[in-house]
């Protein structure tokens, strides 16, 4: 299910002295099965971009197309869009509202027009995916759970709609290291099953490990777009707009500054370790 945006423009606070252009003529295409990481400092327009992609905002000009159909055209089936494109916002735990976890997770699927039985099945699958035993948790109140559990339930609520494209806005903010790792594993699992992932994140290490493509944004424009290796290669250019690369890439750059002969395409820990070992074997240190 390819998703493409064409010359998108968007403004906040139109017609007041506070008017800002959040997106300037942004165009990009995301093909099936990609794992796209979107990076950029606060206020660069990344959240606006994903909200436009999900049809939650209307662009000032330009189009958003899912499967080649303009989602803002009159007569477009919004229900289908909601089923196709799932969105997990920052701190999704604040969107829980039902009496029980089961009901809350079933909210999306039922709204999307599934039958009770279908929804029930999807709820169980989604809860299992995020690491719960459905039978145990379904009857609990979501407000009695811990923060991390709440977030998982909220994410299950989106996954239960069985989206083909999953948009995530800084989903791991505030999670502990183990929670982060588990979450990234889950996202990768979904990606392996063919779900297109679009994820905003400040965690460059996570993106270096999992993303197949990284889009860097600055002041409402696309600043860099390519594989993690390509985007992270030019560290100086990233630093110019307040961004950085994965820790391994930064460490490799520092070693290179000290005279080590390391390539610019080291972005993961194991790559860095392998390069250092190789350097050692060559007897240069």
């Amino acid at each position: 299910m390819p998703l493409s945006v064409n010359s998108l423009n968007y403004f906040y606070m139109t017609g007041t002295p506070f008017e800002v252009q959040a997106l300037k003529d942004v165009s990009l295409t995301i093909t099936d099965g990609e794992f796209v990481g979107i990076i950029g400092h606060t206020g660069c327009g990344k959240s606006t971009l994903i909200q436009l992609m999900a049809g939650l905002l209307k662009p000032a000009s330009g189009t958003v197309e899912v499967e080649g159909e303009d989602i803002n055209a009159s007569g477009y089936d919004r229900k289908r869009l909601r089923r196709t494109v799932g969105v997990v916002f920052q701190y999704p735990e604040y969107q829980l509202f039902e009496e029980t976890v089961g009901k809350d997770v079933a909210f999306g699927p039922l709204k999307a027009g599934m039958t009770e039985a279908e929804a029930e099945k999807n709820v169980d699958t989604a809860l299992e995916l995020v690491g719960f035993e459905p039978a145990k948790i379904k009857s609990l109140s979501p407000f009695d759970l811990s923060g991390g559990q709440k977030r998982k339930v909220a994410i299950a609520g989106v996954l239960a709609m069985d989206p083909q494209i999953l948009i995530l806005d800084e989903p791991i903010a505030g999670l502990d290291p183990l929670g982060r790792e588990q979450f990234m594993q889950l996202v990768r699992k979904l990606n392996d099953c063919g779900v297109t992932i679009i994820m905003i994140s400040h965690n460059m290490d996570g993106l270096a490990d999992y993303a197949s493509r990284i889009i860097a944004m600055d002041h409402g424009e696309i600043y860099a777009d390519g594989t993690p290796k390509e985007v992270f290669a030019d560290l100086g250019r990233l630093k110019k707009v307040g961004l950085g690369a994965s820790e391994s890439r930064e460490a490799a750059a520092m070693l290179k500054n000290c005279g080590w002969n390391l390539p610019d395409d080291i972005i993961k820990k194991d790559e860095l370790v392998a390069a250092i070992l190789k350097h050692k074997e060559d007897g240069k240190c």
Binding site: A54, L56, R82, R83, F89, F97
Partner: protein
């Protein structure tokens, strides 16, 4: 969608009017309100309208902004206008049907009241457009401080007002966020009949209230851990100082308004 609600409609700027002490501005606004009620002739209204226009120009507020502030009350203005025309029984009657009459006096009265309402709104908007909500509460607190003598909790009221105002944008933002999150899950907020609409609000209201209570709790804790204990011995970051400009503005406006009230 919700981003367009401007609270207290403050319109930032750096003009003479913006820089005036909020206390002076509140007093002058009150003065204007009195003047609008006391003035009885068309000339008086014209003079007040001219005065307001002058201040609007000084504050560099666009005419559109002023008109926009009248819009929410347009219905009330038109409603009272029509009521006054139809129900006021005057001497010179143009048209009559049952208890409905249109008379010369009725039309005059209706026009007067409509103008009064518009001028009232403009006068108060002048205050709220050029004074930030925080300045407004500070000014109020300072003006009402004599009431502390009779144990009226002026400071607490002002603090409650500032907190409420401070959190309105936060709540609006939160509402917007939750609405979007639930919309993405297929919730619809603007379809169906009244009962259905009310039911559709549940996915929005429950998280909103949970969040608001949590935030109130956290705020109370944060305030207490910084030793907040009310008014006694509390100093301010921005102390209000009357400048010469403020005094002159007050004297000038007082003189002009009294002139209008006596002669027009």
């Amino acid at each position: 969608m919700l981003k367009n609600i401007t609270l207290g409609q403050y319109f930032p700027g750096d003009t003479v009017v913006h820089r005036l002490d909020p206390r002076i501005k509140i007093l002058v606004a009150l003065l204007f309100l009195v003047a609008v009620f006391v003035v009885r002739t068309m000339w008086g209204f014209l003079a007040l309208a001219l005065l307001f226009t002058l201040i609007i120009a000084l504050a560099k507020i666009g005419p559109v902004t002023i008109l926009r502030s009248i819009r929410p009350l347009l219905f009330i203005i038109i409603f009272t206008f029509v009521l006054n025309i139809l129900f006021y029984s005057g001497q010179t009657i143009y048209w009559q049907w049952g208890f409905l009459t249109i008379s010369k006096e009725g039309i005059e009265k209706a026009v007067f009241i409509a103008i009064r309402l518009v001028l009232l709104i403009v006068a108060t908007s002048l205050l709220t457009l050029t004074t930030s909500p925080m300045q407004l509460t500070d000014g109020m607190e300072s003006l009402l401080s004599p009431l502390k003598k009779i144990k009226f909790p002026v400071h607490e009221m002002a603090m409650m007002m500032s907190i409420a105002m401070r959190f309105i944008p936060t709540l609006v933002e939160e509402t917007d966020r939750i609405m979007k999150a639930q919309t993405a899950r297929g919730a619809e907020f603007d379809s169906g009949n009244l009962l259905k609409k009310a039911k559709n609000m549940i996915p929005l209201l429950v998280p909103l209230f949970v969040g608001a209570f949590k935030r109130a709790d956290e705020l109370a804790l944060a305030m207490e851990s910084r030793c907040y204990h009310g008014d006694e011995g509390r100093t301010r970051m921005k102390v209000l100082h009357l400048k010469r400009m403020d005094v002159w503005a007050l004297i000038l406006m007082l003189a002009v308004s009294i002139l209008f009230m006596v002669f027009l």
